[in-house]
């Protein structure tokens, strides 16, 4: 190929890309929120764009979705006031509300007050389902989900510590953090790890989607219920967007009926929540040492 032509082509391409990017740049003063679903993290912008539009309509202001990679990122953005509203896990919500005085939990999924984690094991371990805590996991390899996850890390770690009076690294021969629930399932199913802990909703969804092979991986224990995901908003938004803004956002979330939007989370619907509901999560985080006391 002629290099001169190629070089001109590249220049055009670059200019074209530049031009395109100008169209998607943000406007200042918008109300921004972030959310990380508990699975299927690809193309978040498209999926959460819809709820941005919905909120925009309900609140009468510009609303924008800001994608983040993990809970650490969402907590940080919330602290930095880069987002004013966030869909947090139980643990990240607690962290965020500690870091931003005045912020409040306003809503949660209908399933979230009674959330659970499943301990799953590769069939090769010979472990099978039981009602009581599976002591047989001692000495195995074990993977959590994301380091900042409530259902993938905090709660499982709590029950492990309570049962063995030891840290996970002392209990297991190897401890990993897969990054998310689907990955935990994949790693345990493939045998990379013998045992793992994951969000029960993701498990169910993966089973429905046919991605779970019962000949390879099985649930061996269900944790007791605990509160998890929540919508948390900064306390100072009332000042910025007018008195009663927090209430308006809460109402908008609770009124949300659109299946397509709810499936992005995925939740049946949203119900009211408040800070006190997450006291058990805070206590656990302190006990496990993730939040310092």
């Amino acid at each position: 190929m002629c290099f001169a032509v190629l070089s001109n082509y590249m220049r055009l391409l670059v200019l074209f890309l530049l031009f395109n990017s100008m169209l998607v740049l943000p406007v200042l003063g918008e109300f921004k929120f972030t959310a990380i679903p508990d699975q299927d993290t690809a193309r978040l912008q498209q999926r959460f764009g819809k709820i941005a539009d919905y909120l925009s309509g309900k609140l009468g202001i510009e609303v924008k979705y800001i994608p983040v990679k993990d809970y650490a990122g969402s907590v940080q953005s919330f602290k930095n006031n880069e987002v004013q509203l966030a869909w947090f896990g139980g643990l990240s919500g607690v962290k965020a509300r500690l870091a931003v005085p005045g912020s409040v939990a306003i809503a949660q999924g209908a399933e979230d007050p009674y959330f659970m984690s499943y301990f799953i094991a590769n069939v090769s371990t010979g472990l099978s389902f039981a009602e009581e805590f599976p002591k047989g996991i001692k000495g195995r390899t074990f993977t959590f989900g994301s380091k900042g996850s409530t259902s993938g890390r905090l709660m499982p770690e709590l029950f492990i510590r309570q049962s063995f009076s030891q840290t996970p690294r002392d209990v297991f021969s190897r401890v990993g953090f897969s990054g998310d629930h689907s990955k935990t399932l994949a790693l345990v199913q493939s045998g990379s790890y013998e045992v793992g802990a994951m969000n029960f909703k993701v498990w169910k969804k993966e089973v429905d989607a046919g991605r779970v092979d019962p000949a390879k991986v099985q649930v061996i224990w269900r944790t007791p219920a605990y509160p998890d995901y929540n919508w948390t908003i900064r306390g100072d938004v009332d000042e910025t967007y007018g008195e009663g803004f927090i209430k308006k956002v809460q109402q908008a979330l609770i009124d949300l009926q659109d299946r397509a939007i709810l499936d992005a989370f995925p939740r049946a619907r949203f119900i009211p929540a408040d800070n006190s509901m997450f006291k058990p999560v805070l206590d656990t985080a302190i006990e496990v040492g993730i939040i310092r006391n």
Binding site: K79, K147, K183, G191, Y193, R292
Partner: protein, 496 residues
């Protein structure tokens, strides 16, 4: 030279025994098959869909390199002063990703964070390399310049023209590195290519991964066609113009970071408990806090980082010694040479972070993926360089005909000094990478730093990053001592 080499091989051997190098996946080939399938069925439509991240990758790299160059030049002028040299060694001892962790709470998860994360360590690197170039440059032209000439005129007439070519070459090479850095910053959440790469890797969508990697290779391979010195100012202005539209700096956050969040936890503890958020100066608890972090986390992190680094150092050396003949004209035909040449370029173009990600998926978590990722990336660079050096050797007409004799008696003795110099030159780079790959789950320093960031314990993360930087500076100075002792220099080959 042989004695030193063997000592390091011995250390690496011990490290291999100590390291966890297990393959824990049961069907690595299955996943491998899916990856290969992805490579052959790239989902090219995602390129258009994620064009903004491609653009961001270029913008961060451009602005980061540009700022790095400006700061680097400024620092290079004062490089004869020890505090400046230490400062530069310190800022370049911290990996771009760790810098991003530092800037995240200060400026937020936006473009400035990405640009600064590249600019700061690069400034330290540029300062060092520019100062070295000036120091090693031809001094004769300076003799012709009148004695009382102002420093600045002296520089522009007697120094800059002389060093321009080397400097340009090195800066261009660094820009390529910056594109890699920029891309992988996406893995921790900045809006560059790595952002989507990570997601697609995680979701096992390898066709999408392949497409994004292809654009990335294309971006780098096409550099020589669009990165013309004349056009650079245009690019820089455009990049900063685009960047400036996304800048939102809150002084409140900056202040909170420096006056509150980086303070050791014991100083803030009381204030958090009684809700006043005041700071109390308590020395003993702070020392205990440092001690606890050292014992619980830093110590193991440092140990694991060193073990990994030493394995990788020797592995890289062995790999490149084994591979470079394939790309060298004295050992193989033109076609073989070409093929290996391109193979090496592709491997070295792939950021080690991405290689690690691939191997982690294939083999499961242990040191093994990290070893191979760092080893391949650096080994490819080194093999490429060694084969180029070996190609320069003119063999006698009666040189040994058997390739193995040729290798050990003619070529290797001639290229070994340079090879070793460059290997030790990259020692510090390998250590930085070893630390960073902890983010992916091996218990090197990166693991603990990432955990602290995940737990929103910025004070702890900063302390661990400080430990990492000191460790790196230590390795850097050991490497310099070793190179000086062996009287070997990378002069010929600083920029590959």
């Amino acid at each position: 030279m042989l004695k030193t080499s063997l000592t390091f091989v011995g250390i690496a051997f011990i490290a291999v025994v100590l390291a966890d190098l297990e393959v824990s996946t049961q069907h690595p080939w299955l996943e491998m098959g899916r990856m290969v399938e992805g490579v052959f069925t790239p989902e090219l439509s995602v390129i258009w869909e994620f064009k903004a991240s491609l653009l961001n990758t270029a913008i961060f790299a451009l602005c980061g390199t540009f700022l790095g160059v400006i700061l680097g030049i400024g620092l290079a002028f004062f490089f004869q002063f020890l505090p400046v040299r230490l400062f530069c060694a310190f800022i370049r001892a911290i990996h771009e990703i760790f810098w991003a962790f530092i800037f995240l709470p200060i400026v937020g998860l936006n473009s400035i964070c990405g640009v600064l994360a590249i600019a700061i360590p690069y400034a330290g690197i540029f300062a060092k390399v520019y100062a070295e170039i000036i120091q090693e440059s031809d001094q004769q032209p300076l003799e012709g310049i009148p004695k009382d000439t102002h420093r600045l005129s002296r520089f522009f007439y007697g120094v800059l023209p002389v060093i321009y070519a080397d400097t340009k070459h090195y800066t261009a090479y660094r820009f390529e590195c910056a594109l890699r850095s920029s891309a992988i910053l996406g893995f921790i959440g900045l809006p560059t290519l790595g952002y989507h790469l990570e997601t697609f890797f995680k979701e096992g969508m390898y066709s999408e991964v392949a497409a994004l990697l292809i654009v990335f290779y294309f971006l780098i391979a096409s550099l020589k066609y669009w990165l013309k010195p004349r056009l650079v100012p245009v690019y820089v202005v455009l990049a900063f113009a685009l960047l400036s539209r996304e800048i939102s700096l809150s002084w409140e956050n900056v202040a909170r970071f420096f006056t509150y969040e980086i303070l050791p936890w014991p100083m803030r503890r009381q204030g958090i408990h009684d809700g006043t958020y005041t700071v109390s100066f308590v020395l003993i608890p702070v020392l205990e806090w440092v001690k606890a972090i050292w014992l619980d986390e830093a110590w193991e992190g440092i140990w694991k980082t060193i073990v990994l680094t030493q394995i990788v150092l020797v592995g890289t050396g062995l790999f490149s010694l084994f591979v470079f003949p394939f790309a060298c004209r004295h050992f193989a035909g033109k076609v073989t040479n070409r093929i290996w040449h391109y193979l090496l370029i592709i491997v070295r173009t792939t950021p080690e972070y991405i290689l690690a990600y691939i191997f982690l998926t294939l083999w499961g978590p242990s040191m093994l993926p990290a070893v191979w990722a760092i080893l391949l990336h650096n080994g490819a660079i080194l093999a490429f360089l060694s084969s180029n050096n070996a190609d320069l050797v003119q063999l006698r007409i009666d040189a040994p005909f058997k390739r193995i004799d040729r290798y050990f008696y003619e070529i290797l003795p001639r290229v070994y000094g340079q090879f070793l110099a460059f290997l030790f030159y990259r020692w510090e780079v390998m250590m930085r990478e070893s630390a960073i790959l902890g983010i992916l789950g091996i218990y090197t320093l990166g693991f603990y730093i990432h955990s602290a960031i995940s737990d929103d314990q910025i004070d702890k993360a900063m302390l661990l990053i400080l430990f990492t930087a000191i460790l790196n500076m230590g390795i850097d100075s050991i490497s310099q001592v070793v190179r000086r002792r062996l009287k070997i220099s990378t002069k010929l080959s600083i920029a590959s």
